[in-house]
């Protein structure tokens, strides 16, 4: 390669850090990572566990502090105010000017606010950054009730966080059922029940009208779309996030809702790349959204852009979709395409246990009987196996026959797979399938 390129990454989240690590494996170019949030990379998804007392901030850092120096990754605490792509310079809030040869923008998202009256009061906030966590810790101390707005992943996390500190919560969800724009109705209903089981005041089909202040400029109540006044001292806004690209306004980098990139994460400006939550694909992949704000896609962006920057120009080619979450005590995993409402040619086998706490859904095409996706609640499956199944387009029969291979629950746990097979056979009397028996604990020892 010869000439040394000065690589600067804005953002020390999973996307930026993954890019930095993978570039470092393939090149010795100087790399600087700028962040205004924290000195070191931490796992954003673990913020809730700090609030709940499961972990300290220190334990959310995936790498020890010596890691960065050892790998010659320079960390710079600072806020980028402006990007001048002509001079190839960044202007920091401190006034410092920083040149670059290659720029990677990985600035993530910001919580949405929709112009509600009172949305900027004290005690009204989203949960995305480390600073949000600090504020939430301050503004929920000693309060009597909180309201959380938004029936998605962050919303339910905020509810769980507040409950862990024994703060009663009213949970406003716009939809008719929790996260029903993603979850099929069975799973969504399961989460509704689970939320209510935890004594959460769950209000479905209810929106936020406005937030009322007290005389000190703090939230004291919300008015719901039904006109009801709900007294509370904290309002969690979890109605989605949007790309954090405000600092690019005056730059020449093309943006829409996010920074526009081609499949190589190249922006309209040479040597400027963008990855992670802040990105909007100019041409989204078939079946996928133009903006993907998930830990895993951020990581894959970082892995991919590192190849391009180090001389192996590579397009974004994620495998079959996957994701996971946890709704209080119910774990959720999804592999492949599972839509909330079955498409025209789609159907599924759905098993749910009697307690209504676990379920397995296998989605398949009606005509070809090809497996399209797997949706799991309270059950763990092997990613590698599901990924292969979906890539190889195996049939639903084949999948049911081999369910054991995918089962990833702990040893000695209750095995629901025979019931899934029964369910399948009831639904498909003309295609009876026998699941291959899993080896017993003893025979497994000797195989």
């Amino acid at each position: 390669m010869g000439n040394i390129k000065n690589i600067v990454i804005i953002g020390n989240g999973i996307s930026g850090i993954t890019a930095a690590r993978h570039i470092r494996k393939r090149s010795d170019d100087p790399i600087t990572i700028i962040s205004a949030e924290t000195d070191h990379f931490f796992s954003r998804t673990a913020l809730m566990y700090i609030y709940m007392g499961h972990m300290k901030y220190e334990s959310t850092k995936p790498y020890e502090d010596w890691f960065w120096g050892k790998n010659n990754l320079q960390l710079l605490k600072g806020f980028v105010k402006k990007v001048d792509t002509d001079k190839k310079e960044l202007q920091l809030h401190s006034g410092k000017i920083l040149g670059y040869d290659i720029l990677i923008i990985a600035t993530g998202s910001k919580p949405n606010k929709f112009g509600w009256p009172g949305e900027d009061l004290k005690g009204v906030q989203g949960l995305y950054s480390y600073q949000d966590l600090e504020n939430m810790q301050i503004f929920t101390r000693g309060i009597r009730r909180a309201v959380v707005v938004g029936g998605g992943l962050i919303g339910i996390e905020m509810v769980e966080m507040l409950l862990s500190r024994e703060i009663p919560v009213t949970f406003l969800v716009r939809e008719a059922s929790f996260w029903d724009m993603v979850l099929p109705s069975g799973e969504s209903a399961m989460v509704n029940r689970h939320i209510r089981e935890h004594e959460v005041d769950l209000r479905l089909e209810t929106e936020l009208e406005k937030i009322l202040p007290d005389d000190k400029g703090r939230a004291r109540a919300v008015i719901s779309s039904g006109g009801e006044e709900i007294p509370c001292q904290f309002v969690g806004l979890a109605v989605g996030v949007h790309p954090n690209i405000g600092f690019l306004k005056e730059s020449k980098v093309d943006t829409d809702r996010g920074i526009l990139v081609n499949p190589y994460f190249e922006t309209n400006i040479p040597d400027v790349y963008a990855i992670g939550d802040c990105v909007q694909y100019s041409e989204p992949l078939p079946g996928r959204k133009p903006i993907e704000q998930v830990w895993y896609t951020g990581r894959i962006h970082g892995e991919t852009v590192a190849l391009t920057i180090t001389g192996k120009r590579t397009p974004y080619q994620p495998g079959p979709w996957f994701n996971s979450a946890k709704f209080f005590d119910i774990e959720y995993q999804v592999y492949g395409n599972v839509s909330n409402v079955a498409g025209k040619n789609e159907t599924s086998v759905y098993w749910e246990d009697q307690a209504g706490k676990r379920s397995i859904r296998l989605v398949y095409a009606m005509d070809t009987r090809t497996l399209l996706g797997v949706n799991l609640m309270g059950v763990r499956f092997r990613h590698q196996v599901c990924d292969n199944w979906i890539r190889d387009k195996i049939s639903i029969d084949e999948a049911v026959r081999n369910l054991n291979k995918a089962f990833f629950d702990a040893e000695f746990s209750d095995n629901p797979l025979p019931m899934v097979t029964d369910q399948y056979n009831r639904q498909n009397p003309d295609h009876p399938v026998h699941m291959k028996k899993s080896k017993s604990f003893i025979s497994n020892i000797f195989s």
Binding site: A46, M55, T60, T314, A325, E411, S413
Partner: protein, 601 residues
């Protein structure tokens, strides 16, 4: 206040009351030494001197055990001084020997000269002659150019003999320790003796009850799921003053039980009735320790059931450690004692059971008939068959988190402190040096002791095998495994001993690392690097480092408790036994077609 809170505080209240009461108990006896009490310890000539020295204490009432023990110490000191005076080899004796050794132009030593010095024949002088002979044998027939050279060698022998007098003829440290304990205990008087059962229930019993009520309130009616809320805000669990205080108390408890049991005889009295019930004899401080240890595992085991309900493997595993502690470590040895058989713990394995191959144990077993030989056979089979084979099939977890007593306590009483283990790379380095160093140490120790056993030679390469044994027993067996091992639970986590010290864990770990079917599988690309797994790994393994790169966790230290998999919010970890092929995999994240494992390494 809701009923749950009331119950929680009730549990804490009962526990604290019982806890304070049990310390109060230590002052609740009077101590009166009588001739009858010391008579039980009658042994050898020295007893006559001891009993006459002890006479001054007879009938005197002591209100505090430490003044009693202080006086008892003086009695032993005076007794030993008497004995030392009696058997002392004087400088005069040495000079006389030198005079006798004088030849024309040199001094020639001959052991027969020793007898000549002692003109009067009595038992004392015969002993002196014997000791001097033992230590001068190597000088026999030697010639010395001048007086000074012979004098130097003789003084060496004189010093050794004089230093050993109390061990040969008087009361040695170990014997004094034992006697102080039994005399103090037997001299105790007061209400504890008459109502031991009631006091037992009011202290130890009530602590158990309080603990159970608290656990029931904390977890009993909560739904299945991980319950780590507030752990890092807890003073007790996150190195606050309560945690440090508990660490000091636990450490102190171990120091007293191991080294100064005479100060806690009042606690031992409480378990006398239980001891009589089980083995017909009175309780020793080791019996008390066994009772407390077992109760801790049982009560905190119940807490585990409640905390991890809905998680079958945690419940079964906890049942297993409770069973092995209660049955194998506690009841079976007690029953064996009562049948006059060696009280062997059938699940204790060398080198954790470091004295298994000590001469006295081997003598004991070999003279114990078929049963003794069976134990010897069983113990050896555990080391050479059970450890490698079971670890090959199941990983070291079959022992460390299902069977072992140390593991049993760590997994129950230690569970609230599991997150305190150090996860840094540095700690891992220290761990490897320490634990394998101790494995080497125990092998040398056992080798040396066996050498002495088979050859009768007391030293190997100039080092006394006794000395190696004493150092190992004190530093590793007592201080590390006991005092630090449990005392430091609230300070450094519940597996300090298992991780940094246990030589059996080192041995199991070597098998697990290099030849086993066990691994923790990580699930494709599902890890979100949250760090719950690493945080709650009691062995300080940075599980996340493996999980976030999709690599199987294969580590010598992993005890296979399964908590990492339980606390993982995304279903990323699974403990399993599987074919060896593919066990070591590189980074293997799933979900990106362009994923390059080499770049990710």
């Amino acid at each position: 206040m809701n009923p749950g809170k009331i119950m929680k505080y009730t549990g804490i209240f009962l526990f604290i009351i019982a806890f304070i009461l049990s310390f109060g108990l230590l002052t609740m006896s009077d101590y009166i030494l009588t001739e009858e009490i010391i008579n039980r310890e009658r042994e050898g000539k020295k007893y006559e001197i001891f009993s006459s020295e002890a006479r001054g204490m007879f009938g005197r009432k002591y209100e505090w055990n430490f003044t009693f023990i202080n006086d008892l110490d003086d009695v032993f000191k005076r007794t030993n001084q008497h004995i030392r005076d009696q058997f002392w080899i004087s400088d005069e004796t040495i000079q006389k020997i030198i005079d006798l050794a004088r030849k024309e132009d040199e001094f020639v030593f001959d052991t027969s000269l020793i007898e000549k010095v002692f003109t009067e024949r009595n038992k004392t002088n015969e002993a002196k002659i014997r000791y001097l002979n033992d230590h001068t044998g190597w000088m026999d027939g030697r010639g010395y150019p001048d007086r000074k050279n012979l004098h130097d060698d003789l003084v060496k022998a004189q010093t050794t003999v004089n230093n050993n007098i109390v061990y040969q003829e008087g009361y040695g440290d170990y014997e004094i320790k034992q006697l102080k304990f039994s005399l103090t205990k037997h001299a105790s008087q007061g209400i504890l003796l008459e109502n031991s059962w009631i006091w037992f229930l009011l202290t130890i019993g009530m602590m158990c009850l309080g603990g159970m009520i608290y656990a029931l309130a904390a977890y009993g009616w909560r739904k299945p799921g991980i319950k780590n809320d507030g752990i890092f805000f807890s003073s007790l669990k996150a190195l606050g003053w309560m945690g440090i205080g508990l660490g000091i108390i636990l450490t102190g408890f171990y120091v007293f039980i191991y080294f100064y049991p005479e100060y806690v005889t009042n606690w031992v009295i409480l378990v006398d009735p239980l001891s009589r019930l089980l083995n017909g004899g009175e309780a020793s401080h080791w019996f008390l320790y066994g009772v407390l240890y077992t109760l801790a595992i049982l009560v905190m085991g119940v807490r585990m059931f409640l905390k991890y309900k809905g998680n079958n493997i945690q419940v079964i595993r906890t049942l297993s450690v409770m069973f092995f502690q209660l049955g194998f470590a506690f009841l079976i040895p007690e029953i064996l004692y009562s049948l006059n058989k060696p009280g062997y713990d059938f699940k204790n394995i060398w080198p954790l059971d470091y004295d298994f191959f000590y001469g006295y144990n081997l003598d004991d077993l070999m003279s114990g008939g078929t049963f003794g030989w069976f134990i010897l056979f069983w113990g050896i089979m555990l080391v050479i068959i059970a450890v490698p084979f079971l670890t090959f099939f199941l990983g070291k977890r079959w022992y460390c988190s299902w069977v072992c007593g140390c593991g049993g306590l760590a997994e129950t009483m230690g569970d609230p402190f599991r997150h305190l283990s150090d996860k840094s790379l540095k700690a891992w380095k220290i761990e490897r040096w320490m634990v394998h160093g101790i494995l080497v140490f125990v092998v040398i120790n056992t080798g040396a002791v066996l050498y002495t056993f088979f050859t009768g030679q007391g030293s190997l390469l100039g080092v006394g095998t006794d000395q190696i044994r004493t150092v190992y027993g004190f530093l590793i067996g007592s201080i590390f495994a006991g005092v630090i091992g449990v005392g430091f639970y609230p300070l450094m986590g519940n597996r300090v001993w298992c991780r940094f010290g246990c030589p059996l864990a080192a041995y199991l770990g070597i098998v697990q690392r290099f030849k086993s079917r066990f691994r923790i599988t990580t699930n494709g690309g599902q890890c979100i690097s949250c760090g719950n797994c690493s945080t709650y790994c009691e062995m300080g393994i940075d599980v996340r480092w493996y999980a976030q790169r999709g690599q199987n966790v294969i580590r010598a230290s992993c005890v296979g408790c399964g908590i990492c998999a339980a606390v993982c919010p995304r279903g990323v970890l699974k403990l399993e036994n599987n074919k060896e092929k593919g066990r070591f995999n590189g980074p293997a994240l799933v979900g990106n077609k362009n994923y390059d494992p080499v770049t990710s390494a």
